[in-house]
Symmetry: C2
Subunit: 359 residues, 2 copies
């Protein structure tokens, strides 16, 4: 199945290259290099095919070894939210202002709706003003850009969040480009990403999920510097920024992705594993070195009629197996999820402090 997936990917890549006239252009005099002129022509969807391993049901390792410590993201996030609330109160009392967050949601994805609802609720609880702007699934590009631009100009708004993914017909790049860098609390602007990547540079915002992962590691007493870290997945919103951030913290980072030949082997050498592939139960016990610290960013919605919202969230890591091998692990839900929201609040607060020069 893995080979089929790779073959399929190669086909897609060749098709993309053909569409971009890569091969045709190579024959022309204006094509000087053999490297592709367009990096986007190399991109294709990350269709992870579950390995035969991940299709197996969990077989618990009953060696009698100590279970991993559970890293309680919910508890840590509550602590952070409580301090944010205190800070918002202090700001309001001192200068009569509160931080403001605008949330834009296009379409009716159930999971996106839940995320947005949770973010707005979290804002309310800590005293951050939130404005919710909902647009229909089929709304034109201009309407979204216009909403983003309008919040960009509003001085009472310090953070703007466009809930991703957007419907297919919308151009994510153009929409995010309309977002003022100073209000990019998600940290997804390429300028922020470049500054996150480069030593000696400082991004205005660190993306929320990666920032939450690092905070979980630090608060759990996990040393990052000099450790081997493997990031599974290379999305712009999690895999890429967490790899860059771990590197800024001096881990030795390897990024495993859908085309990696031997992901289990590479991952099983890591002291810290961050799983962000979006594939339920991808990481089994044989992917993990005994004693590894496992951060599970995966939150794949799986149909579950018995749940309040009709689905439940499943992580990338087979928890039942991993807990017997790892030294510490985040659960799903209750791990990285609550931290991501807490980091959104801290980013919005920081942005407001910067705007009002409030220390």
């Amino acid at each position: 199945m893995r080979i089929i997936a790779i073959m399929k990917s190669i086909e897609q890549r060749m098709a993309a290259a053909w569409r971009n006239k890569y091969i045709i252009r190579r024959a022309l005099s204006t094509q000087i290099l053999m490297s592709p002129q367009s990096l986007v022509s190399l991109d294709f969807p990350e269709n992870w095919t579950p390995t035969p391993d991940s299709l197996r049901p969990p077989t618990l390792n009953c060696s009698g070894a100590q279970d991993a410590v559970t890293i309680d993201g919910k508890l840590i996030a509550e602590d952070i939210r409580s301090t944010v609330a205190t800070e918002v109160k202090r700001m309001k009392e001192a200068i009569g202002k509160v931080p403001g967050l605008a949330v834009i949601l296009v379409g009716q994805r159930r999971d996106s709706q839940t995320y947005v609802r949770n973010k707005i609720k979290a804002c309310e609880e800590v005293g951050i003003k939130s404005l919710f702007h909902e647009l229909p699934e089929d709304c034109p590009q201009d309407a979204v850009v216009s909403a983003v631009s309008s919040f960009s100009e509003d001085p009472s708004i310090h953070g703007i969040l466009v809930q991703l993914p957007l419907p297919q017909h919308l151009d994510e790049v153009k929409i995010l480009n309309a977002l003022r860098l100073e209000k990019d609390v998600d940290g997804f602007h390429p300028m922020n990403m470049g500054n996150l990547a480069m030593r000696g540079r400082e991004p205005l915002f660190i993306p929320c999920a990666p920032k939450g992962c690092i905070e979980l590691l630090i608060r759990s007493g996990v040393e990052i510097m000099g450790k081997n870290a493997v990031v599974i997945g290379r999305s712009n919103v999690v895999g890429l920024p967490i790899a860059l951030l771990l590197q800024r913290h001096h881990a030795t980072v390897s990024v495993v992705h859908v085309l990696t030949d031997n992901p289990e082997e590479i991952t099983s050498e890591a002291d810290i594993v961050v799983a962000a592939a979006g594939v339920p139960n991808l990481v089994r016990s044989n992917w993990l070195k005994p004693g590894a610290v496992v951060i599970d960013v995966g939150t794949c919605p799986v149909e579950d009629p018995s749940s309040e919202y009709g689905y439940r969230l499943v992580g990338d890591v087979c928890y039942e197996e991993a807990v017997k091998v790892a030294s510490a692990i985040t659960p799903v839900p209750g791990g990285v999820g609550p931290m991501t929201i807490a980091m959104l609040l801290t980013n919005t607060l920081d942005s407001a402090k910067r705007a009002y020069q409030f220390v």
Copy 2:
């Protein structure tokens, strides 16, 4: 020696943290997170200590195995330069314009002087107009920014290159920020770096040395997709962008740096090794998997009175040993160096074509 280096690094880091009042701030209410507020506070100089291995003299492996193919960067670069010359001629004949490159050199570093001289000579040979602006070692920040700004406004200049490293008293970040993104032919602007890192995005320019490495791999018939690649070193100018670029080409990338515990072990699992640490002969035969492809970006100037310029360039890889283990390898000089200059020419040409909308 390795342990001493690590201890020293930790001390430096702690000192930096202390200077940034990281520890003090943690006790205050405004410090919500335990993660450092400033990523720059985590940075310290990359003082690689040669491993005992790299102090050993080369002991040639005489197993009778076939020597590696030498990847002739000089020859490939000449081919590219010749095509650039044809394109510049075509542009001149069609629209009466040629690409223009401005080179700014501050101070009198001998190696920088050589690099700049070579770049200007290469421009002349292909018909690219070059302007050379030299500033004294002790010139004020404003003078450099002013030179950059003036070239940024000049419509006949399509590329601006500030030769790095700059003297200690100058603020590299501020100087490079004055450089128009459309003329950043070195590709060092954080916006370019972010767009290089992010899937679905396109940088205006890919940094020259990394772009040259990929071109060497492709022209040598080396498959990158799905291969394990190790990048040694994480500088903003080479290590970081080559890692990002290899990832865009779908390699599984690990970045080994000065704080990596087991660089030999990780490197010895790579199909493609890019050495960019700047430490002469760091990579010995025991770092390499038999059959690996080795790209040596290291060009460390070593005193040599017998050489024309008083020094010679030495790579990061112990060539005599590596050639017996690798399947292909770039020499120093004559490998990545000439390609870096050739890529500067293609970036400048591309920039001029974009400016004049010449296809």
